[in-house]
Amino acid sequence: MESLLPLIILLPFFGALIIGVGGLAFPAIRQQEKAIGTVATLLVFIPFFILLNLFINYKEPIRFSILSWMQIGAFSLEFSYVLDQLSLLMGLIVTGVGGIIHLYSIGYMHGDKGFYKYFAYLNLFIFAMNNLVMADNLLVTFLGWEGVGACSYFLIGFWYKDMMKAKAAQKAFVVNRIGDFAFIVAMLIAYHVAGSLKYEALVGNITGHWAFWMTLLLFIAATGKSAQIPLYVWLPDAMAGPTPVSALIHAATMVTAGIYLIARMSWVYIQVPEVLMIIGAVSALTALLAASIAIAQNDIKKVLAYSTVSQLGYMFMGLGAGAFAAAIFHLMTHAFFKACLFLGSGSVIHAMEHTHAVKDPQDIRTMGGLRKYLPSTSITFWIATLAIAGIPPLAGFFSKDEILSRNFFAGHTYAIYYVYWLIGVLTAFLTAFYMTRLSTLTFEGKPRFNAEEHPPHESPAVMTIPLWILAIFSIIGGFFGLPELFGHGKYNWITHHWLSIEENPLLATQEDFLKEALHPSLGMEIFLITLSIVIALLGVFLALRLYKKHALQGDELLAKRLGKFYNVLQNKYYVDELYERIIVKPFVAFSEKVLDWIDRNIVDGVVDGTGESVQGFAELLRRLQTGIIQNYALLIWLGVILLLAQFLFMA
């Protein structure tokens, strides 16, 4: 088993290398879709099974190192990894969901010219993501962080000939840079204070205002990668990429990197409640804002994108309340049902493209009644919808309820968490509402396109099987973390088995954060759970009543009820326009006026001045070259005399 460990990291990398370089060098390989798809999928599933084996037989953290990168004095840097419970769980999600999406992509990308390129990028992404979640120090995590960012950029701009898509990729890259800068500064602080970048060395060694700034900067980094206010704007645009990419990178794995990072540093975070409260405030606002935007969107992938932003907000709310395990739990269940939703939307888009009847295959206004034509897709999509809406006993209910109740409990110590909890409950209602609206408008009612001429058809098995696998996990995923109510957490595998070792806990618990043991009464727990169920059912019921009966007119009724506010929602609170006006435009103007002048006059002046002064000096020196050989001989002679003089008189 020991010797297999490096394979977890290296296999996807080899896959990217073989497929990418092979495809570039030998155009004939590009046509071998089946071979490329199989190789790429296998190279993700093999690490998955190695990880699964390690996970089942877990005893203690496993460490291994692949390569020594550099050694400067006391500072050494290695590509070293640690497989503890957290990284194993993350690795299982990355390779498991990743493998399923690889499989799905074989069907989805069939016939695309860039087939080999796509799978090379996808394998490279898995490699980078594994580095991110398994590294035992901040720097290798950062490399993975940048690696997934680069793959995200490649894949959003995969159809780069479309200018809109290329621009979306650029936007994602630039917005992420802001967060990455914060990450680098946080690393510098960590090294300055603790003298090491290893996670183990950081715990307990960073205190006081250093801890405040480092944790805050890491959170800013997380807002970039995990799409929170104020840096979330790139994620909805990132839907320009192929749909499986949206499922893998922009829903299930990469965007959760920020949650993983904060959970990994949980012991540092609990020292600074202020930062955790900031996280709670930012994430609660993000969750509410994104969920409300999602109500008024008509692009099937845009709705899911805003839903992802909102659900990521939930995860951060868990982190903010000090319930790190609950956040990871929601991360896991979200990976299942959101991947299922995105893959389902891919199947829908696939079908709509083949009807040739609509202009925009992603616009839900032109869909409707697809259940008849896409049985597997519609059933799995509905399952995932109910899961994300929080209908028991599906996965989303348990994880969301855990996060909400943890926020409520934290309110005992810091009253502000009651506010976050309230926002969370409101968001839960909106979530149930907009997801039901999406599913109803897509699959129910009568077709709003010409279905007789070109009836849409269900996707091939290679695409529906992944849907079913993910749907099954969307159903049973929640049972891994049953609430305290049942046997006092005995059956909560997440918090009591998977993410805790008694003597040396990996994640801080909420008790560590609040510094008091929580014993919520039975009545309180039953009240919270009942409230969650009622809220979710209410959302689903209202949306069903509105959209099942009125179909598209439902939107108009809703708009009438909300008045002008509906317009604001449809335009996403004008955040993009606001950024354009207060950041992009002034920045461009500043560049054109001031920076351009500085570049032309000062920078160019320095460069040209250097050249000119060298030239002038050379003009003087060239007089030495008389061309008369005896002058040179004289100089040699003088040189010899000088040397001799030095030997004689100085020695």
């Binding site: 007089r623 005896q630 001989a633």
Partner: protein
């Protein structure tokens, strides 16, 4: 006569040769001054050889003479080529390397 006298003569010869190389403009005379410097060195060699009763110095002189002979062949050939080019052997006329 001690070795000192030989060395004084040798250094005088060497300095004369060096001055000639640096100051004279006629290529043939510069060339001959180079030979003069070589022979000044030869004189020092044989003087020390005798002084130390060691044949190595004398052996070295043969090498120097051999090289000087070879050099004379090449050097005179170059001077003839220069003369053919410019109809003069005045070194001031040869300044192709000038800026």
């Amino acid at each position: 006569m001690s070795v000192m006298h030989y060395l004084i003569v040798s250094s005088l010869l060497f300095s004369l040769g060096a001055l000639g190389v640096l100051l004279r403009r006629n290529a043939i005379i510069v060339f001959m001054c180079v030979e003069l410097m070589l022979n000044a060195a030869n004189l020092a060699f044989v003087a020390f050889s005798r002084f130390h009763n060691d044949a190595a110095g004398a052996m070295m002189v043969f090498f120097v003479m051999c090289v000087a002979a070879a050099e004379a062949v090449v050097g005179l050939a170059i001077i003839i080529a220069m003369f053919r080019n410019k109809q003069t052997v005045n070194l001031s006329e040869f300044n192709l390397f000038k800026w």
